[in-house]
Symmetry: C2
Subunit: 767 residues, 2 copies
Amino acid sequence: MDQENNGVNEDADIESYTGKETDERVYAQPLLSRRRNTTSQIAIVGANACPVESLDYEIIENELFKQDWRSRNTVQIFQYVLLKWAFALIIGLVTGLVGIFNNIAVENISGFKLLMTTELMLQHQYYKAFVALAGSNLALAAAAAALCAYIAPSAAGSGIPEVKAYLNGVDAHSILAPSTLFVKIFGSILCVSAGFVVGKEGPMVHTGACVASIIGQGGSRRYHLTWKWLRYFKNDRDRRDLITCGAAAGVASAFRAPVGGVLFALEEAASWWRSALLWRTFFTTAVVAIVLRAFMQLCSTGTCGLFGEGGLIMFDVSAAKVTYSVPDILAVILLGVIGGILGSLYNYLVDKVLRTYSMINEKGPATKILLVVTISLLTSICSYGLPWLATCIPCPADVSSRCPNTDVSGNYKSFQCPPNHYNDLASLFLNTNDDAIRNLLSTSTSKEFHISSLFIFFSAIYCLGIITYGIAIPSGLFIPVILAGSCYGRLVGRLFEPITKLDVGLFGLLGAASFLGGTMRMTVSLCIILLELTNDLLMLPLVMLVLLISKTMGDMFNHGVYDQIVKLKGLPYLEAHAEPYMKHLVARDIVSGPLITFSGVEKVGNILHALKMTGHNGFPVIDEPPFVDAPELCGLVLRSHLLVLLKGRIFSTDQVLAGDDVVRTISAFDFAKAGSGKGIKLEDLDIKDEDMEMYVDLHPITNASPYTVVETMSLAKAAVLFRQLALRHMCVVPKSQGRPPIVGILTRHDFMPEHILGLYPHISRQK
Amino acid sequence: MDQENNGVNEDADIESYTGKETDERVYAQPLLSRRRNTTSQIAIVGANACPVESLDYEIIENELFKQDWRSRNTVQIFQYVLLKWAFALIIGLVTGLVGIFNNIAVENISGFKLLMTTELMLQHQYYKAFVALAGSNLALAAAAAALCAYIAPSAAGSGIPEVKAYLNGVDAHSILAPSTLFVKIFGSILCVSAGFVVGKEGPMVHTGACVASIIGQGGSRRYHLTWKWLRYFKNDRDRRDLITCGAAAGVASAFRAPVGGVLFALEEAASWWRSALLWRTFFTTAVVAIVLRAFMQLCSTGTCGLFGEGGLIMFDVSAAKVTYSVPDILAVILLGVIGGILGSLYNYLVDKVLRTYSMINEKGPATKILLVVTISLLTSICSYGLPWLATCIPCPADVSSRCPNTDVSGNYKSFQCPPNHYNDLASLFLNTNDDAIRNLLSTSTSKEFHISSLFIFFSAIYCLGIITYGIAIPSGLFIPVILAGSCYGRLVGRLFEPITKLDVGLFGLLGAASFLGGTMRMTVSLCIILLELTNDLLMLPLVMLVLLISKTMGDMFNHGVYDQIVKLKGLPYLEAHAEPYMKHLVARDIVSGPLITFSGVEKVGNILHALKMTGHNGFPVIDEPPFVDAPELCGLVLRSHLLVLLKGRIFSTDQVLAGDDVVRTISAFDFAKAGSGKGIKLEDLDIKDEDMEMYVDLHPITNASPYTVVETMSLAKAAVLFRQLALRHMCVVPKSQGRPPIVGILTRHDFMPEHILGLYPHISRQK
């Protein structure tokens, strides 16, 4: 090992981090918390000491794989392709149905709740109305929190960061498990109905990904639900593709935006992309769109309870005439700049709040529920209390919708006002979030909301949104941001009324765009999602402009909110680009820890010992002189494959090649990757003491052509290789001959900035 | 060399192809024509013996590069980033302006032509009218053909295949030269005005790419137009990014579809994609959208001559109410299936016609012009002659537009009909292509066109479109396909009238989608382009469905039309996926030809000899015993860098390391990659006879960490590496020690199916 840590302050922290050279089964939370904060009080939300494992996207070219490939015939390949599309179809169908179910449930529950409150208000029983509202909110919130705290803690939060990390190659424990799916669906319904400032969009993405993951498990051996050809899906590459489709389907279902879903998957979620995948994702979201459309038509006949009608477009602003001139554009630019700054401030505050909450949540399920209940009460107080600050406004004469409105949804809520008057704040607060956004984006109603009311609502929602994310409920970030943003936009529109002719509803839309750009930092996908939401293509140039400006502003201050959360959760996310300081290091520089290698034919005892003592997931196999002239790198063997081989017990007393014995005893099917946490464990092995001195031939399961880099390759170039090819292990080989044939192995963790800058603290200043 | 060509039929063809192991400066046309057709009569359109060169996308990590990198300070990096965005801005501005100019010119020229014809028709001077129409068409066509044939032959055709190939790493000679740009702009205007069934969309993409390429040349040393920091753009990677932006800007400008442009660049044009690029491309198309919008507003005041008004949406169908039920969907599915088949038939026929034309075009510029003139006459005869077949239809009473219409554009052309009657075929034929499409997509006018007229127009346009592509004019494929498709769709709509309630205008849109899907095989980008063209988001699910079906149908029969043309032109395009047969071969199997290597410190004579005798662009450098213990691979040196080094004449009489001499004499700037065809040539060197025995140290310019694969890696895996990392050279290293440190070099040509299946003809059957 020729690592040169000259002058590195090797404190215990770094030791424990870098010691695991090929060890990826590390525990995300403690690592990160220690690294981030010396007081080590920060726990990570939703990832409390959850094990993180890298995924195997590399094609493992061993003998068994080759044999398996050769045995595939045209029919099997056709079945495989057909199945891929069938899975895409199923994912689309299921995600679409879940989306519909979610919508219907939320509209009915919160509709019932609001109806009750409104009834009591009409009878002037104001205290009872508050109790009814706050009580039902509390009950729903507590139920959601209990589900989350006791059944599936990983269902808390948006889920998009975890899906993003999964598609980057990091599998956090139970993030896509059936229990997570269950809690995500029902928790999301409960907490959206509970009036929290949270959305169902993030959870829908997570739901889509969970559905895809469960479908992609390729049957269950325990329940004898396996077809032979399902095994072709038992690998991480095919699962990744399915989950990408699932994430796209989630967005398509949440926003009713099929093209937006594809682009979201492409721009935000997926780390690797192929054009064939574009095509399949597109198919999935098309299925979602058709399912949604069919149910919308069904529901428009009134069979879905309080669920309203409405087409695929949610917030239709196309009624407004879009013409704009220079002053309008100036106003819009200013809106974009401030929106971007407010968006990045939002990210900053969410980060701070998350860190605080994680300390609270760490204390146990009861504390988690307590926190949720507190926030729920606070939300109820705001929703019910703040409208009292607004003055009653006489109903306008020329308005098409009913005023005052005593319905479940809609504009012009009567609240405490006398007949023919309405309370503008109540129209925003005492509505579902979707309806509030619809009111804020309503066009040709410029005077509907007072400037003061807009300001109060904006402040309240901005703060509530920040303090709500991070509590133990499934909570999307899109809706709070759109809500705050459209209110901000409408406010700006009102303020600029003297100089601009653009409708305030359109300003609302642009405000939402600026906030989304400032927090999420997506461009094309947000653009398309907003278009599909609002059905106004003529706004496109302005929306693009605002997104460009607000993203640029936001990027000056911090990272996008999802990247921030990924980092906070300690998930080792590989960035697409190499950091500048990587150009100053070479691959050899970051190789660390003792390297454990096996011989081509290795003693069972040695293998068991290595598996027990290290957490490494990949071991180099080196052929040595009895078999070859000089030591040479035979390849790389995976822990999971070693376990299968040892379970098969094809041992020999002498150090000889096993020949076809292995292939005859164990099929490639046995080596197919099991679902997360389902593979053979070390404890499952039944190795007797007398076996320990036996030999086992590793050649049939050794990946004979792992990707290698020469030790003098710059780290930047090596990082690009690692990321582009979606590797899990990269072998570093010596430049000159006559030395041991491998210098070390690099894994995802070795490329993390924390690791590199830990080894070379002086380099960070150079940048 | 351990290549094993057992049983390979090594005919002269394969020899000449595979002999050039690292030689990429091969001549595309003769190779391909011989390979494709044993009669060797097929020449390739527009690529008549043009040299093809691979691009260097790999980071060349040599000493000079490292030194240069270390010397960069924050200000320089900031300048670089700023400049990137400034370039994107300029590309957007210029492409937008060219788009506007093109539109105004076409509308005015063809408007004038049609006005003249209509005037003569009104005076019943039918023969004069034909002469006027055919004469002006002929003159315009001849002018376009002359430009193309004499000034820039590579401006012929769509240009999208060449841009696609460039972004895949293949630089065809003069494809992005200023002369090509000039001819593309004016040729496109002339031939669209000449009434050909061609579009301006493909040419606009090519124009955008040319603009970007010229901007990306990084100044000109000849005219002393160089800034020091422009040199950071003197590499193929940054140029590729700019050209991607240019292609997106072209689509955005042609279709007025900014988001569609981004997606087109992503889905069809670019082979490598980074999220940072998405962001910059988006910015470029936003600039285009703003430029277009500003000019549209200017033109709507009537200052642009015959150029009409109209917003960013070209074919507005949003007036139609979109509701559909099961029978509609069945009709749409049938439409998609037949559309897909007709689309792939279109591809097949275009391919056949192109092969025939290339034989004709090969004979010289005069023949080229003659062909253009013939097709122009044929087009004029169809346009003027076929409307006589239509019967005059009485004007409907309830229509908003004028009927009969004697204007330049619009529906309900009077032609030869008595007052209050119109000729429906004339409304389609005697219009610009854009207006014809607009008429076909017009909604709420279901009876406007007779079924027989639609059938005549469809047949004529389908055939004219096929025979027009391939003649020596800039000719886009989008418009012919949309034209034929929308006519087909409207025809189907009319036929299905008894069972469907969907507007025939919407059927026209779906027909266009089905043809586009069937020929171009794009999905998301076409979807968005159609949406932006027609402003109807509610059609989205149906458009998606049709695209999915027609693409699937088309894929059963052949490749997309652009892929077909790329192949026909003999451009070595690297596919994203590895072919199935590649799994049965290893990297070593396709290494061929004698390997030429240099020592770390090599004799000038040897280098010159190698440069003269081979066309190789990369040479392995091997350090040998005086300097190291055993021979080891030092790295890879590029021909272009060798030429610069030899020009610098830093020679020594002994075989010693040059130390910092080289770095002091030659800067990294000198090694910056010159524009296409501009670098130092072998003839430019001034090497005297006495220099031949001197030594030159290659270490400072050797890329010390080229990407390597071990010889036993499967070809499929090696191909993925090659393609994913956008390599030009890949070193194959031996598995065992003690052998020469390099087995061979693989280049783009080695991965071409023609090459591999030529070496192993028996393998193609295995698949």
